[in-house]
């Protein structure tokens, strides 16, 4: 038992010391506008921040109005040099509820997806 416990503890230490940092599933950590928020003025962009670096070429963000019409334009890009972000510009939004649907591919090819809504106040 003591030997196996020692081996288990050593394996755990090895994991922590030799693991590759920054390579994992890209889970959404922060959104702007935030999920479920009510925006007093129409936001000009949607920015998503993930737990890991994402590939802009293999990631998408679609922002649609209540009728399903796209209100974003251009392909998602990083914000500055931050590889953990994706951002798309928006047309001027009218008051109403909008849905953000995203698909992200991390740099180690793990795929994640999600969606949320926000509201622009009238």
């Amino acid at each position: 038992m003591q030997r196996r416990s020692f081996l288990a503890a050593g394996f755990a230490a090895t994991i922590l010391l030799t693991a590759s940092p920054g390579q994992a599933h890209a889970l959404l950590r922060q959104a702007d506008p935030p999920a479920g928020s009510k925006q007093p003025i129409p936001p000009p962009v949607v920015t998503l921040t993930f737990s890991e670096a994402v590939e802009t070429r293999f990631s998408t963000i679609a922002v649609t109005d209540a009728h399903g019409k796209r209100v974003d334009f251009d392909t998602p890009q990083h914000v500055g040099d931050d590889p953990k972000t994706l951002s798309v510009p928006l047309h001027t939004l009218s008051p109403g509820t909008y849905t953000v649907t995203w698909h992200a591919t991390s740099v180690d090819t793990h795929k994640t997806q999600g969606s949320y809504t926000f509201t622009v106040a009238g």
Binding site: S5, F11, I15, Q23, A24, P34, T109, H110
Partner: protein
């Protein structure tokens, strides 16, 4: 698989249900099904538990400790082999402490259905529990093996009409234990009756709440929590089943889900006498090898 552990001599019919050991997490669309602590989760992945520690106090000063470990290895992206084992210490005032390794269990698992849009996942598996020696028997394990066909499932609550309920999720496992030596009518052949085991969990993902429903501006630590309640059970399949009563256990707790590991803590509350006499605890540290080593240990053997 749900394994009952006999406490040290003098406890009579009191049994303690020991968790089988933690398992993998699975991501289905926006839903992360974490590793549950008392039964397996519904998917396949490259992961490891190092360790899971359980304390299960019995009556009359008896205590059972278990240290368990586990390693999951994907063969293809949707199939995996899983190794589980543990070491038990059973102590009681006035009696000699008994120690021994649990039966080794190897699971072959196939993640058969994964639907990101409905947040649904179903896996099928077969667990082979290998025969143990005298030390295994000393801590309530079996000197013969068993084969356990298993079904695993997970369902996220993203479809629910009430937004604040959407972070809820359900996961479960159903097993049928087929012992190599089935208890016969003499009740004296050293066998067991086999039976149904399984678990069910109700989870609430704070991360799902923040990113899919409504961001309340809570601290990051809170947004990584998954409060949950697990329920595990065992019931003998066929008569005779003397000495193998139905057991039912509730395990409320919380999981902290980091990017490449998780830590979980749950109380173990027996819901009937056969499941134990007192409240115990289980704590688990689990590593996501597919996130830590995506180019080596974390990749399927056949991608």
């Amino acid at each position: 698989m749900y394994r009952t552990t006999a406490l040290a001599a003098g406890l009579g019919a009191a049994l303690v249900a020991a968790p089988e050991g933690a398992r993998a997490h699975v991501i289905v669309g926006p839903r992360v099904f974490p590793v549950t602590l008392t039964f397996d989760d519904p998917g396949t992945a490259d992961e490891a538990t190092l360790p899971q520690v359980t304390l299960a106090p019995g009556s009359d000063g008896a205590e059972a400790y278990a240290v368990q470990w586990e390693y999951d290895k994907t063969i293809t992206p949707n199939t995996a082999l899983i190794y589980n084992q543990g070491y038990d210490i059973l102590s009681q005032r006035g009696a000699k402490t008994r120690t021994g390794f649990e039966n080794v269990a190897i699971t072959a698992k196939w993640q058969a259905i994964t639907d990101a849009d409905t947040e649904s996942v179903v896996s099928l598996g077969v667990i082979r529990v290998f025969a143990g020696g005298s030390h295994t028997q000393a801590v309530g394990g079996d000197t013969f093996g068993s084969t356990v066909p298993s079904l695993y499932f997970g369902q996220g609550g993203g479809f629910l009409p009430v937004p604040l309920l959407r972070p809820l999720a359900l996961s479960g496992e159903i097993n049928y234990v087929i012992p190599d030596r089935r208890l016969d009518s003499t009740l004296d052949n050293g066998g067991t009756p086999g039976g149904w085991t399984g678990g069910l969990s109700f989870q609430y993902s704070m991360s799902y709440l923040q990113t899919e429903v409504r961001d309340f501006g809570l601290p990051d630590f809170v947004n990584r929590l998954i409060p949950l309640v697990e329920l595990t059970y065992y019931s003998p399949a066929n008569a005779p089943a003397n000495g193998y009563p139905m057991t039912l256990q509730l395990a409320p707790g919380c999981i902290y889900l980091a990017d490449s590991y998780q830590v979980g803590l749950e109380a173990l509350i027996p819901l009937n006498t056969a499941a134990g006499a007192n409240v115990g605890f289980t704590m688990q540290v689990h590593f996501f090898l597919d996130d830590l080593f995506p180019d080596s240990l974390g990749r399927p053997i056949f991608p």
